[in-house]
Symmetry: C2
Subunit: 150 residues, 2 copies
């Protein structure tokens, strides 16, 4: 395998997981900054041409993993690989952010759902989307339907 | 940080990177299997309800990293975080696959672009897409335009 290293850290408005919006249909519109370490700045060349980025990061305040558990969206338990739970065998988070502007090694972005100080592992350009009519969203769609009929 | 562990391995038709389709507008339609290790099978509960998954995996045959380099798509150099190059500070790959069917701890998928035997780090449900009209694709769109005018 390999030894993960931080390429930078997230500046986010959230210092506590309780502050992060959760639940059905939540939109992450919070702005934040991806502060890339000086030694990795050359890797940012041309990134400003992309409107959206994948951010891979570490759930550095999660402790251990749980293969089946509840979620803030649905009190029924689900397998961890069917959820975005922080309690994963490899505690890696994935967020799609909109790149608002680049200021040197600071990437100003919209859509952060990470805690302030979260270590960043990687950035990748978001290149294409699955057409919405082709997406099935499993238990999440069912939970939405149940909540509408409540 | 954390110590990455494999949750399973990819069965893919590709034994050599030369076999993996590359270049502008390439579509990854190859079928493969995500073989999850027995001890992680409970984490797959409910995954069959999702049509598409994010697969996080390790570029286990990449050696070191390069912050700026060429790509198979464009001979102009780009920053590594603007590309999907395997030579990354953290050698993590990200692929969106279509889940065709689940057979126990074998997930049959379409869209593999990994080598046979690649270690899998994580699976997450693909829940939403960025509307195509909102996506800007930077140097990649420029390279496509140049190739059309050649």
């Amino acid at each position: 395998m390999f030894s993960p290293i931080p390429i930078g850290y997230v500046k986010s408005p959230y210092d506590d997981t309780k502050q992060i919006p959760k639940g059905l249909g939540v939109k992450h519109e919070a702005e934040g900054v991806l502060e890339i370490l000086p030694e990795f700045e050359p890797g940012l060349a041309d990134i400003e041409g992309f409107s959206h980025l994948f951010v891979l990061w570490v759930f550095d305040r999660a402790d251990g993993f749980s293969l089946v558990g509840g979620t803030p969206i649905d009190n029924r338990p689900h397998g961890v690989f069917s959820t975005r739970s922080p309690q994963r065998p490899n505690p890696i988070g994935l967020t799609v952010v909109e790149l608002l502007r680049r200021d040197g090694r600071s990437l100003h972005v919209r859509g952060v759902d990470m805690l302030n100080g979260t270590p960043i592992l990687d950035l990748k350009p978001y290149l294409s989307s699955i057409a919405p009519e082709k997406l099935r969203r499993g238990w999440l769609a069912e939970a939405e339907m149940r909540s509408r009929s409540d």
